[in-house]
């Protein structure tokens, strides 16, 4: 009985410990590709010129006009809209990179 109780307590403790990992927010980074390499993407934000470094993984997809394209299409200077998830701008994992036309001022 004591053993079962301890296992239950352990499971609850584990669940509580991983809860913060779920508390991620979705971020959108809009700008141009500054650097792209395996597992990493740097984008220079249009709005303030800041460089945001993000991680990429196997699940990261690259799209153009809502169609999936090769990662090789990401080149320095490409205009992109990046949807990423994480706790802050310094800790983001890229979910999707959309290749978009260059913004035009109105």
């Amino acid at each position: 009985m004591t053993r079962r109780f301890m296992i239950a307590v352990g499971i609850v403790a584990m669940m509580l410990s991983v809860t913060p990992a779920w508390a991620h927010d979705d971020y959108r980074i809009i700008g141009t590709v500054l650097k792209v390499s395996a597992g990493k993407l740097d984008v220079k934000q249009t709005k303030d010129g800041k460089t945001i470094s993000m991680k990429t993984d196997q699940a990261t997809i690259v799209t153009r006009d809502k169609k999936k394209v090769s990662n090789a299409e990401l080149k320095v200077g490409t205009n992109v809209v990046v949807d990423a998830r994480g706790d802050s701008l310094q800790d983001l994992l890229v979910l999707e990179v959309k290749i978009v036309p260059a913004p035009t001022a109105k």
């Binding site: 979705d26 971020y27 959108r28 701008l89 978009v100 001022a105």
Partner: protein, 228 residues
């Protein structure tokens, strides 16, 4: 036979003097009734004081006994349903929100509403947007519903309507500019919301100051109370 009919007695017609006297008495009685009863009861005009004495003036101007309003300061704007109407502990609020969405940017703009509270809205954009009108349940909600619920999710350029909050939480719009050109949006709303928040695409949250109804300059001033 003819003789019997002619024998029926006939009453003598009243004299002119008597007719005049009877008419005068009737007029006096009518005037007395008018002054003592009709005027006090119908129009609260009581020249002889008989209306007050008989309690008739209350009929013309019954005392106003307003319902005691329970409006505790800071109370949540939770509606109290009374048939087809809902009463709230505070006045409704007004809001006009303008934003320019830069290329590919999005924003969320939401109001906090208690379950059952109502708001009306109209918004218009300079070009079609991706939009999702939705609500987020308060953290810790125990009604078993999903954290978020969409009410209207489709590309739009404008919308006008009303919302009765299906649950307590923040309710509002996700607007995304899908183009490479800035788009402006103007939202006008009024309702029984307690607060508003703007959530930008960098996840920063910006509370908004809402206006109470008395800021409307076009409203006439409140009429002064008059005692009858």
């Amino acid at each position: 036979m003819m003789n019997r009919i002619s024998e029926v007695p006939t009453a003598a017609p009243p004299s002119l003097q008597r007719l005049a006297r009877t008419t005068a008495v009737a007029l006096v009685v009518a005037v007395v009734i008018l002054l003592t009863t009709v005027l006090p009861a119908e129009y609260a005009i009581d020249p002889l004081g008989t209306g007050r004495w008989l309690g008739l003036t209350d009929i013309a101007s019954p005392p106003v006994n307003p319902v005691e309003e329970m409006r505790p300061a800071g109370a949540a704007l939770k509606p109290i349903a009374k048939g087809p109407i809902s009463e709230y502990p505070r006045d409704f609020m007004l809001d006009v929100y303008d934003i320019t969405l830069q290329p590919y940017e999005y924003v969320e703009y939401k109001y906090h509403l208690e379950q059952g509270a109502t708001m009306m809205y109209s918004w218009k954009a300079s070009a079609p947007l991706l939009q999702d009108f939705h609500g987020e349940r308060e953290s810790g909600a125990t009604d078993g519903g999903p954290a978020e619920e969409s009410f209207d999710k489709q590309d739009r350029r404008e919308a006008t309507g009303s919302l009765t909050a299906p649950f307590t939480g923040i309710h509002g719009w996700y607007w995304e500019n899908p183009t490479g050109t800035p788009i402006t949006v103007r939202l006008t709303s009024s309702g029984f919301y307690g607060s508003a928040i703007e959530i930008r695409s960098d996840r920063t949250r910006h509370p908004r100051v809402l206006k109470p109804i008395d800021v409307l300059a076009s409203l006439p001033s409140e009429p002064a109370a008059t005692a009858r």
